[in-house]
Symmetry: C2
Subunit: 244 residues, 2 copies
């Protein structure tokens, strides 16, 4: 395991408040593995044997049913996934595969669950992480039910341009096929949607997106914080005392 990876994982909100001893134990028990692209890490329906932490690379969460397949999320460093399944010790609802060469820390199920039941601080951090993920997913669900494909793309581009440094320029975090599935459309449709957005100042070359004028794009996209805001992790602070 690369020693320089440890502090990065340590600094995740999930682990940052945990005491050193306990974190050491987790690291001790964990595997650090490197995978090439296109490796299946998890298959939906399998038991959640590990909590995964993506340290480097990129992972796609996806789901299949009846011959159809869709992307549920694109995960980038540094973040944990399948926490809910691990915690409840149940089967995964989503599959996961690398789509870049990736380095992952894999912490065995029992260790996570033991920490959760023994360590108050960790339990709190878990709740914070879960509520973040939950609200993230509420937004995704609202988006797919309330917006058309073209609007979803436009807002996705605005969110990405915010999340990455430069608001005028960025690179898609995955291939267009994956992005299409993430946004609930076919690749053909994504292509056409990009075409339509050129009328709103979006220029595409390969995976590179240029936005002439975010305001103009927003006029079309109509973003709202109730769908598009990034969920901040809840910092567990004291609550002001109640009553007189």
């Amino acid at each position: 395991m690369r020693p320089e990876d440890i502090p990065v994982v340590r600094n995740l909100p999930l682990f940052s408040d945990m005491d050193d001893r306990r974190f050491e134990e987790l690291v001790e028990a964990a595997l650090l593995q490197t995978f090439p692209p296109q490796v299946d890490l998890i298959r939906e329906g399998d038991p959640a044997d590990f909590l995964y932490v993506l340290v480097e690379g990129a992972v796609e969460m996806y789901a299949s049913h009846n011959g159809r397949e869709t992307t549920m999320a694109v995960i980038e460093p540094t973040s944990a996934f399948i926490l809910a399944a691990v915690l409840n010790d149940v089967v995964c609802l989503m599959s996961a595969r690398t789509f870049l060469p990736s380095r992952l820390m894999m912490i065995p199920n029992e260790h996570i669950r033991r920490c959760f039941s023994e360590d108050t601080t960790f339990a709190g951090a878990v709740a914070a992480e879960l509520s973040k993920s939950y609200r993230q997913l509420v937004k995704q669900h609202k988006e797919i039910k309330l917006r058309f494909a073209g609007e979803r793309l436009a807002n996705y581009l605005l969110r990405q341009s915010q999340a990455r440094g430069d608001p005028t320029q960025f690179t898609l975090p995955a291939g267009k096929g994956t992005i299409a599935a993430l946004l609930g459309m076919t690749p053909e449709n994504l292509s056409r949607a990009f075409g339509a957005l050129s009328a709103h100042g979006v220029r595409v070359r390969g995976g590179n997106i240029h936005i002439d004028d975010a305001k103009r794009l927003a006029d079309f996209a109509k973003p709202t914080p109730l769908i598009d805001a990034v969920e901040e992790i809840y910092e567990r602070r004291g609550v002001k005392s109640i009553g007189p």
Copy 2:
């Protein structure tokens, strides 16, 4: 506040392991209110001032954007809602309205958050509840992305027939317009989808559904536990000790 309501709330997994003193305090601080149908309890974007527990009646969670509106969930007794928003002390992502005369316990934000930070047991129960809700929503999201409208309805009927006592007969928990929005379709389309399901042994009279043969319907619906299983709440037990 009706004294007979208290034990019901007490028995929710969220509160059942909490110690008596603390629960008393929550009850003390809580409001118990009765509302007629069609009352807006929460508007998305508003701060989450209370954790709501539905004791009797029925509540619709919904979301609006750009003149469109959709149903996110139909809540029945006894269950809590907007936990994630309360915990993080942020705005609600969904609106809520009664659609039956309803009795609700409303526990002030600060009390919930104080319990969460002071009471390990409660923090654990919160995490369990959140992971349940999260996985529930993952399933909803998979369903809408991977199934057609008719399949969604068929599987919804199968789930309902399981959840309610009689597998051959049950009543819809809400009007068809609401069910349609919940399943991501228009009322017109729901009507036609019901029509199509008559070929698979589904008989409808008003809100009353009769399923001739669940197996036959399942042949069409192709249910899978990875979308259709009901999430059980995680019972927080000890984890077997690790290593030699």
